[in-house]
Symmetry: C2
Subunit: 140 residues, 2 copies
DNA sequence: CCGCATCCGTTCTGATACTG
DNA sequence: CAGTATCAGAACGGATGCGG
């Protein structure tokens, strides 16, 4: 079990040398980063959104997201489970069935996440326009 | 200028085979993903937050974030600039001075982002507890 | 049906050194 | 001070095959 499905996450970039003196204001930045990188994870956001509707099965999620590979979905779900954002319920039937559902914590997170998603959809055009403009200028 | 400071971003995972039939509901997921991955970018969130206070200089930002390397800060700022979220103002003085500031678009984004950051800080303890618990069980 | 493990290419990151 | 170039190591991500 050496390589496992390496979650890796980010945990902490490990606080820098002791010689440094970050503003106390930003002392918690590292910790926050580890939470945000879960959210920032491309797939996590989608999974959280999909699960906002209610519990889903593995392949149901896979189908909904559709661009995701099995591996990444497994990894994402594990990460979410690890962080206490989703629960994993196994029904030892044949064939097996596994349901994923948001915890209260996860449901709380889904609100800001959906706000972000909403914003993203509304301003998508503007951003893409800006991107195109920028790229055109850059290609000197 | 071959390797440059490769931005790479994500742009689009490129939509899958045409044989697939994702719910129309998720047709725009890909586009949203490219926006979210900017937000999800560990550093982007911090930069946006820092800039929420007002314009900042390059090294000022570097100092505030403190875990970031010069390279990553440059990359992050470029990406943000590309997306039309921040402006870059150069003062051709000696020594040179460059100010970064949120655009209106960026300021709009900073609201949901800060909500997310706020949530992250408030629930950090719960998440870390869940993580520890999970890891302890995993280390069979 | 659910999910773990391995191979293996691609991408990201940090450290360092060099310009204007 | 602000930024670029380069390189080597780490992490990510997908495809495939196996097992409960």
């Amino acid at each position: 079990m050496d390589t496992l499905l390496k979650p890796a996450h980010i945990d902490l970039p490990a606080s820098p040398r002791s010689g440094q003196r970050p503003d106390p204001n930003h002392a918690d930045c590292r910790g926050v980063a580890s939470v945000l990188s879960r959210v920032g994870d491309k797939w996590s956001v989608f999974v959280i959104m999909m699960l906002g509707d209610g519990p889903k099965r593995f392949n149901e999620l896979k189908r909904m997201i559709n661009g995701i590979s099995q591996r990444m979905l497994t990894l994402t779900l594990r990460g979410l489970e690890r962080d206490g954002l989703v629960t994993r319920t196994i029904f030892p039937t044949i064939p097996p069935r596994v349901d994923y559902e948001l915890t209260d914590l996860g449901r709380g997170l889904s609100r800001p996440v959906e706000a972000l998603g909403k914003w993203a959809m509304e301003h998508l055009a503007q951003i893409e326009a800006a991107r195109t403009r920028f790229d055109k200028r850059g290609e000197h």
